[in-house]
Symmetry: C2
Subunit: 402 residues, 2 copies
């Protein structure tokens, strides 16, 4: 999808994002219980099946009387609690005690708040009466057939409550992606293990798992040695079921970097095999039908950048979102000291809203393997290629990170 | 905690938030595996147990040679892959092939990128050599003993990866709150059920569950009739285990509203029993030791407001956050048409960042029972008491909602 005549130039972040927005398709939708649908994308419009509210309801605890009844004293002839349905024609001089939410017994009525009456036995005296009827009228929120939630809406707790209120208990939402993550590298050991000299702990598996958790995805994860046969057998078992394959490490062009060969072996078309990003140069993007694979750079900061730029866009498209601009404007709270670099740089930073402005504080990082900045980072500042440092107060683009 | 002489005046949102910030205490911390610690608050400072990185590592695929070796041709005497540990003293004219991440075999070396050499058998010719040593030096990210993650940090995926990289696999984080939610009301039926006239579907249980999910909490939930005995037995079974008790409905002063009596029965001290909010006037806040209880108004929009203002502050304090200002400034994208009201109003709205500014579009709502606005709402605009409508472009305070 990257045009042929650009084959020799490594693509930019914008080009890779545009590519992913072009090739990734929303996953199928399925009817899902409300408590599993939180945060998912609705894939059907949902209409009110009947007027909302479906009957006239009292907005207050009080007494229902006829609107045209000018009496000041009334006989209390019944009580209606929320949940009751007691239709009756009220006569002049009659009142019915009614609870908040209770169904009015008929039309042409008014509820007088109990704060505005005196009660003695069955006798009600209205002390104050105004024009407020204290009724939530049938259909005042929405009419039967009206669209209440549009297709494409991300289901917040509030939207789910609305669906519950109309009995739409199994909305059509995008299914969750199935993800397989392989962490490769002969040097990595589990975080619980003490590495020998030359070895390091596998932090990328923790990063990937926590990142995907934000999307409600629990990936299948394996640590595999840099061994094509071992990796092939892991994938063979799972290939038909996976929407997204993530391989950490082995993405660069070293002779031991086998991710590309592995993906090609399984019939993936390589779309990107190197980028113009810093950190994040060694990145493979591949697809097979609607399956997407990433060969992610093993260095943890580069890994973090690629997840937050490219895997995020992929998951957004999978979930049924429209292509979104993931970049936002912000202002540097301190200068960003960077040597001139030919590559566009994504710089870890801490963003905070201050007096309505998004302020970004660049964090120190020494290399693509340095993840100390990730203790505080919640953003990546985009530093244009060939720029050399930015002054405090400069307006920049940034991506809020997950 | 609301001063005695204010007993007769219903407290404002700010007063209730200040009260909660005063009475709620962080829950205990416990050692927790990394994959369960995402989004939780670290309750200990975490230091680097050793220099980071712990040994000199190659930043590139290339060849290690002596820094002081001016030769152009070298004999390749060994290969070091990531994970290997092969200390040796290199002689002038000797080179060792090394992979990215590989441990340098000794000091005083430089790595020449493989893009800058030619290889013929065991003979290496350096084509281009610059001052870049292409080494990630021991300790360049952090020194042993240096604090890497401060106590009080919310653990993002990046922070978890950092902990994994230093083998801190069971950080001390705040335990999750235990929550019991009772939905009361004789008129409510489950969302799957078709209500009779006078009945409505229970949307608050769905709202509460999805809201708490944001905090990784799965509440115990029960629907109970407005029956003190039934509710008492539900609570009796669980009272000692619960950090937060939420009761939906029954919070106003109607004679059938039993939440207050219920809480007093169980020894809760009533801190608030009515507010100056719209929607959300009938709200009970109570405590017993470090346990907090809310009697939430049954009307769903009022319910939404109280969750997003007060339950949110409580959960933030429980989790170990410092008292935070939940309000942010924003600008109205359209006028907000509201009759003058004596109560401070929290108005459902849609917020969007546009060109670095937070723009708020007020949504239509007809009453505290109208949850149609919640299809789109992601914010609540604070409209001051006695104000009557606001023009487009007005600067307002808002709360982003969950």
């Amino acid at each position: 999808m990257i045009p042929q005549n650009q084959n020799r130039r490594a693509p930019s972040a914008d080009e890779i994002i545009a590519l992913l927005n072009g090739v990734c398709q929303p996953l199928a939708a399925a009817r899902t219980p409300l408590h599993e649908a939180a945060g998912r994308v609705l894939r059907e419009p949902v209409c009110a099946p009947e007027d909302q509210p479906p009957f006239d309801r009292s907005a207050m605890d009080g007494f229902a009387i006829r609107l045209d009844d000018a009496n000041l004293e009334f006989k209390i002839v019944d009580e209606i609690r929320a949940g009751d349905w007691k239709p009756r024609e009220l006569q002049a001089g009659e009142a019915v005690q009614i609870s908040t939410g209770g169904a009015l017994p008929g039309d042409g009525l008014q509820v007088v708040m109990k704060e505005n009456v005196r009660v003695a036995g069955k006798i009600l005296t209205v002390v104050e009466r105004d024009s407020n009827r204290c009724i939530r009228f049938r259909g005042e929120d929405a009419r039967a057939g009206q669209v209440l939630v549009e297709s494409g809406t991300t289901l917040t707790p509030g939207a789910l409550a609305l669906l519950a209120s109309i009995g739409h208990a199994k909305p059509m939402v995008t299914r969750l992606p199935r993800v397989l993550h392989l962490a490769t590298g002969n040097e990595i050991v589990p975080p619980e293990q003490t590495p020998l000299t030359g070895q390091i702990r596998d932090s990328n598996s923790v990063l990937v798992r926590a990142f995907l958790r934000h999307w409600q995805i629990t990936p299948q994860q394996k640590r595999v040695p840099e061994d094509e046969a071992a990796a092939k057998s892991e994938i063979s078992n799972l290939k038909s079921e996976v929407d997204l394959l993530l391989v950490s490490g082995g993405a660069s062009v070293g002779e031991h970097d086998f991710t590309r060969r592995l993906l090609e072996h399984f019939g993936f078309e390589i779309l990107v095999c190197k980028t113009a990003l810093r950190p994040g140069r060694p990145l493979i993007v591949a697809r097979r039908g609607n399956q997407i694979a990433f060969g992610l750079p093993g260095n943890p900061l580069a890994h973090f950048v690629c997840l937050n730029l490219f895997v995020r866009v992929t998951l957004g498209k999978f979930s049924g979102w429209a292509a979104e601009n993931i970049f936002q404007p912000g202002t540097l709270a301190a200068k960003l000291e960077s040597g001139r670099n030919a590559r566009e740089t994504f710089w870890p930073a801490r963003s905070e809203m201050k007096s309505g402005e998004m302020k970004l504080t660049p964090l120190r990082w020494s290399s693509s393997g340095d993840l100390t900045a990730l203790a505080l980072a919640n953003s990546l500042i985009r530093v244009k290629a060939e720029s050399s440092g930015l002054a405090a107060g400069a307006v920049v683009e940034f991506v809020p990170t997950i």
